[in-house]
Each structure stands twice: as structure tokens, then as C-alpha cells.
């Protein structure tokens, strides 16, 4: 077989990058389909104009690279199966530095390997999407669903004082919609964004509408590295050695995170209006908990559900407001207690916060959670 690459003649002009950010499906009509959660992310990436994917195989997220390895090349996109997650995130870093939309996806152990690169992206102020279809740990753990990466995702994960935008879908449609949002927020804030799903949301198959969300204003990427044609050179770096420079840089990042807290908080609530006890849960556990709320309601208990969609920024003000009327919260997680800390901090001692957690292995049933509700419902 001949090598595919052919050198062009010297005169031939090279085409500009096709990867202008902002989407390639301007005229696409909403399209109904049935898809796995992982596939929904891959579809959304393409629809959002991300034609650059770099990743390394790991269960349970392989549907994403498999879908994109098939669909990106015909669109003129680039797909690299890298030698490691370390290379993957650095390929994203490089591609994103040109102003193009780029992404990677992995699962927990792979996301651990990416933390260095994510920290550099936060320091360089580079957008980019990282999808974590998390599995159970620590170590090699297993491939069952887990929410054990909540701390890693919301506390930064890598070294240094930074935050990532973290979105937690709980349906296949949300996998799609939040992927769009993640790209937009990453571009808006020049910050990496993460979709934090798990094996359950990644593998479940549900109806999906491929639809273009409302466009939000995105600042021009005048920082992008495209060759200093007719302008001063751009530099993207995270090393600041001059007196005061790094302090200033860290304050600048802090201001961004504060702005995110003001403007980007998203959550969903269900039956909280008259609730005496509210379950706080995200992602797959919010699905189970919703059924538990319905079961409790059938038995006449006034129970509601509060579901953070943005894990960073965490909906702390909304929870605080809710705690002025509801005095009992039950946090349900697929771990031994992580988000519960944020719930406690948010309600600030104005309400009782209980916890029901399950380490990875098996999902709790709605009835199991209902039993917990009964323990604390007065």
C-alpha cells in the first residue's frame, strides 16, 4: 500500500483550517434518534463544531472514540488514537491553542493521567472538553458506575489553585445538550470543561433530539496561536517568574471562577415546593432518587429532589435558599460521601444534612433509597 500523504507542489496554496469554532451545523434541523449516552456526546461534539478528537481506549466510554473515528474523517476532522491519556490531553492542549474546538474522553484512571495537562490548560487559559464516563476506583477498580471522581472533578484534580467547569448529565438528552454547553462555557471563560457522567448514563439508550441550542455570545479568540501574521506574536504559557506576576495571574483566574459562580449555575428541582425532606443527588443517582421521590409521594410523604447540573460552579445559593424552607436534606451518592460536603457547606447549618452512599459495585434501587427517606422523614 502506498503512503497516503502526497507532497503538494510549491505553488499550491494550503487551505485554511476548517475548524473555525462555533459549529458546523448552522442549518441543521432537529433530528430525532435513539442513542446511547456516549454516542450522544460524540454527536453533540460534531454538531458543536468540534472536529478534533484525541483519546485512548478505556471502558466504559469507547463508544465515543469509536463513533468519532468513523464520523470525523469524512467531515475533514482529525481523530488520533494516542499512545496514552497523557498524550491525549496534550494533543487537546495543542489543538485548542490554535482556537479550534478540541476534546478528549476517558474514564477515571485515564482522567487521573490527564490531570497534569488539565492543570496546564487552566494555567494557559485554554478551553477544551474532557469527558469522564467514570468507573469505580481506587486504582483499577472496576467498570461499574461510580461517583467517586466528584472531588477530583470539582476540586481541580491537578496541581495548583484552579477550577474546571463540571457538568453532570442524568439523561441521554442531557449528555447531548450539556456537551454543547460545555464547549460554549469553555470558550466563554477560556477554561477547560468536563462532562462528568458514569457507566450508567454512558451506556443507557434513550430517545435523543439532535438540536442546536440558542447561540450565546462568545468572545473572539484573539489569543489563538495561528502564526503571528500581521500582528504581535501570541504566547500561551503558565510560567510566571517575575515578581507579582503569578499572584496577579491567580487572582485573574479566581475572578473567572467567581464570575462562573454568579452566571453559570444550573440545577433542576422536582417536587420541592411543599417538601419536608429533599434529596440532593446528581447524574445517575438523581435518576434513581427521582423514582424514590415518586414512591414516597405515593405513600403521602412530602419529599423532593434537588439535582445540581453544574457541579462546579455548585448551586450553593439555591441550596441555601431552599434550606430556609426545608430542614432535612438527604444526599444520595454512589460513593462514601463527597458531594455531601458541598451540600453541608451550602445550607450552612440551617438544615440537617443526612447521607446515604453506596460504594461502587451495585446501584441502589429506588426502594432502598425510600427506606433511607423513611429514616429521616418526620
Amino acid at each position: 500500500m502506498r503512503h497516503a500523504r502526497v507532497a503538494p507542489s510549491a505553488e499550491k496554496s494550503v487551505p485554511m483550517s476548517p475548524f473555525e469554532y462555533g459549529g458546523i451545523v448552522e442549518n441543521q434541523k432537529p433530528e430525532k434518534t435513539l442513542a446511547k449516552g456516549n454516542e450522544a456526546i460524540a454527536m453533540a461534539a460534531i454538531d458543536a463544531g468540534c472536529l478534533l478528537y484525541f483519546g485512548y481506549p478505556i471502558t466504559p466510554q469507547n463508544d465515543i472514540p469509536e463513533y468519532l473515528s468513523k464520523h470525523l474523517p469524512p467531515l475533514g476532522g482529525e481523530f488520533i488514537q494516542a499512545e496514552s491519556e497523557i498524550a491525549s490531553i496534550n494533543l487537546v492542549l495543542g489543538a485548542s491553542a490554535t482556537g479550534a474546538r478540541a476534546m478528549t474522553s476517558s474514564s477515571s484512571p485515564g482522567i487521573s493521567l490527564m490531570q497534569e495537562g488539565i492543570s496546564y490548560m487552566a494555567g494557559d487559559e485554554l478551553p477544551g472538553l474532557i469527558v469522564n464516563i467514570s468507573r469505580s476506583g481506587p486504582g483499577l477498580g472496576g467498570i461499574s458506575p461510580s461517583q467517586g471522581d466528584y472531588f477530583q472533578a470539582t476540586r481541580g484534580g491537578g496541581h495548583g489553585d484552579y477550577r474546571m467547569i463540571v457538568l453532570a448529565p442524568s439523561t441521554v438528552q442531557e449528555m447531548y445538550d450539556l456537551t454543547f454547553l460545555a464547549f460554549d462555557l469553555a470558550d466563554k471563560y477560556r477554561n477547560p470543561a468536563m462532562i462528568l457522567g458514569d457507566a450508567l448514563i454512558g451506556q443507557i439508550k434513550e430517545p435523543l433530539t439532535r438540536r442546536r441550542p440558542e447561540k450565546i455570545f462568545l468572545p473572539p479568540k484573539d489569543w489563538a496561536l495561528t502564526g503571528a501574521e500581521g500582528r504581535k506574536p501570541n504566547r500561551l504559557k503558565s510560567l510566571y517568574l517575575q515578581e507579582g506576576e503569578l499572584t496577579e495571574h491567580n487572582w485573574k483566574l479566581y475572578q473567572k471562577y467567581e464570575q462562573m459562580k454568579k452566571e453559570e449555575v444550573r440545577f433542576d428541582s422536582f417536587c420541592v415546593e411543599d417538601a419536608q425532606l429533599v434529596i440532593a443527588a446528581f447524574g445517575s443517582m438523581a435518576r434513581v432518587s427521582k423514582s424514590s421521590v415518586e414512591l414516597a409521594r405515593e405513600e403521602g410523604m412530602k419529599v423532593g429532589l434537588f439535582r445540581p447540573i453544574t457541579l462546579f460552579p455548585f448551586p450553593e445559593k439555591a441550596l441555601y435558599a431552599l434550606s430556609q424552607q426545608v430542614k432535612h436534606f438527604l444526599t444520595v451518592e454512589l460513593n462514601t460521601g463527597q458531594m455531601v460536603e458541598d451540600v453541608r457547606l451550602s445550607v450552612d447549618r440551617d438544615a440537617q444534612v443526612y447521607f446515604y452512599g453506596k460504594p461502587p459495585g451495585s446501584l441502589p434501587s429506588p426502594e432502598e433509597v425510600l427506606e433511607e427517606i423513611k429514616k429521616y422523614y418526620h
Binding site: 507532497a7 503571528a228 501570541n234 504566547r235
Partner: protein, 250 residues
């Protein structure tokens, strides 16, 4: 009067911070001259690595991206895949490329990424204070091989150029030195050739440049220059190891 020697357009007019007798400045200049030669300053993106070479963005009058330690070749691949119409190069030291970044450079070469890597090999970790590198010669004393590098403990110095030349994906692999005018002129031509390979979309090009590090070798500039000739070149022979012609494509 005719101006016969000037600063490359691609280099900013400020003094290098490098130590007296260090060869980084010379290697920087050769890269800058190659970029000027092909008039590609406004379409080139440089990727800096970690170590003494991180300050590339202070010297090169081009767009520069700083890569995490060892990851420059992966970062450069990302830049190139997003903008195939740009010229992309990395400038990496031996600690960066041959130790922590060896997986990235091997796979970048193996994918045949159409980028250029300038690999600065001075057999030592420069910026962190002269620790042993994968390229440190046997018997060489460093701050972490105080008794001299012993292969029974530390293994052997890695010949990166030879290793990368074995990969089908690499298109141009060479090793040069800048310790005397004759070698310097060859180095200039070779670095230029590496960029030409990228411009012609021939694939991965790699130039290893043997550099002196008088500070961490505990030598004067002249002694360090002599060491390049007497110790480095015999172990790291100079020359073009591989040059793909179009017909070589598999």
C-alpha cells in the same frame, strides 16, 4: 557599507539569559535563521518545553506555546492537526525529550506527524542544576551521579536520533553539533533541511543538536567545547541518519 551579518528577523533583540559558553543561543539562532530563510515567520508556531529551553517565547518573534514537561511533541501534533497549513516545531532538551517525554516523541515520530523537532542534547539536566539525564555519558559526574554514571545502576546513554530513525514514521533524522565553525555550518544546513521537509509535507523531521553546558559540566567554555568534540561526538556520531525521498513512502 553592506550589512553581512544581522540578527534574524525571527529573534527578538534582547540578550539571551543563557550561561556564558552555553550553546542554546547558537541553536536558537540557527532555528531562527531557518524560519527566516523560508519566510515562514508569520505562519510558524513554536512549542517550548520545560528546562532552559522554556524561555523560547522570550526570544523568538513568533507565536509560542509552552508545553508541560516532556509533552511538547504531543502538543505540537495537536497544533499541527488543527492547522496543517502552519509550520510547527518544538525545541526540547534531553531531560524533557529523552526521559519524561520519550513515549510522546516515539509515537509522534511513528505517526509521521509533519512537524520538526529540535532536540538539544547537553547530556545533563541544565535548569534544575546538573542532574543525570538519559543522555549522560558513562563515567560522567553529575549532581545525581556523583561517582560517575555507572551502567549497572543507571543504564546507558540513549541515542535518540538512532532510535527514532528506526521508525517507519520518521522522514528526516540527523545529529549535528555547533562546537566549531565547520560543524556549525553543517548544523545550519541540516536544521534548514528539517524545516524544508515539513514544508514539503514529507513528515516527521528531527535534528539532535549536541550542546555544551559549561556550568553543569564544571568547565570553562573552551573546555566544554573540547568535551563536545572529544567525548560527545564519539558516542553520538554526527550526520544525517535518515532522509526520506518521496519514493521511500511505504
Amino acid at each position: 557599507m553592506e550589512l553581512v551579518f544581522k540578527r534574524p528577523e525571527c529573534l527578538i533583540d534582547i540578550p539571551f539569559h543563557f550561561c556564558p559558553g552555553c550553546h542554546h543561543g547558537i541553536a536558537h539562532r540557527l532555528v531562527a535563521e531557518a524560519i527566516d530563510y523560508f519566510k515562514i515567520r508569520e505562519k510558524t508556531v513554536g512549542v517550548a518545553s520545560v528546562g532552559c529551553s522554556v524561555f523560547m517565547y522570550d526570544y523568538f518573534n513568533i507565536d509560542v506555546l509552552e508545553a508541560p514537561h516532556g509533552r511538547a511533541s504531543a502538543v505540537a501534533s495537536g497544533v499541527k492537526r488543527a492547522r496543517k497549513d502552519r509550520i510547527v516545531f518544538t525545541y526540547q532538551g534531553d531531560g524533557d525529550l529523552a526521559a519524561i517525554g520519550i513515549a510522546e516523541v516515539i509515537h509522534t515520530a511513528n505517526r509521521g506527524e509533519n512537524i520538526t523537532i529540535v532536540f538539544a542534547n547537553n547530556t545533563v539536566y541544565g535548569m534544575t542544576g546538573g542532574q543525570m539525564a538519559p543522555t549522560t555519558l558513562l563515567g560522567q559526574k553529575t549532581t545525581t551521579s556523583p561517582y560517575g554514571r555507572d551502567f549497572t545502576y543507571d543504564g546507558y546513554p540513549i541515542r535518540m536520533a538512532e532510535m527514532l530513525a528506526t521508525l517507519e514514521g520518521s522522514a528526516f533524522v540527523a545529529r549535528v553539533a555547533v562546537n566549531n565553525p565547520a560543524n556549525l555550518m553543517k548544523a545550519k544546513k541540516t536544521i534548514r533541511k528539517a524545516f524544508q521537509m515539513q514544508i514539503e509535507e514529507m513528515g516527521f523531521s528531527f535534528v539532535e543538536v549536541l550542546l555544551a553546558c559549561p556550568t553543569n559540566w564544571g568547565m570553562t567554555a573552551l573546555e566544554a567545547n573540547r568535551r563536545v568534540e572529544e567525548e560527545l561526538i564519539p558516542y553520538f556520531p554526527l550526520g544525517i541518519l535518515k532522509e526520506r525521498k518521496m519514493a521511500d513512502y511505504l
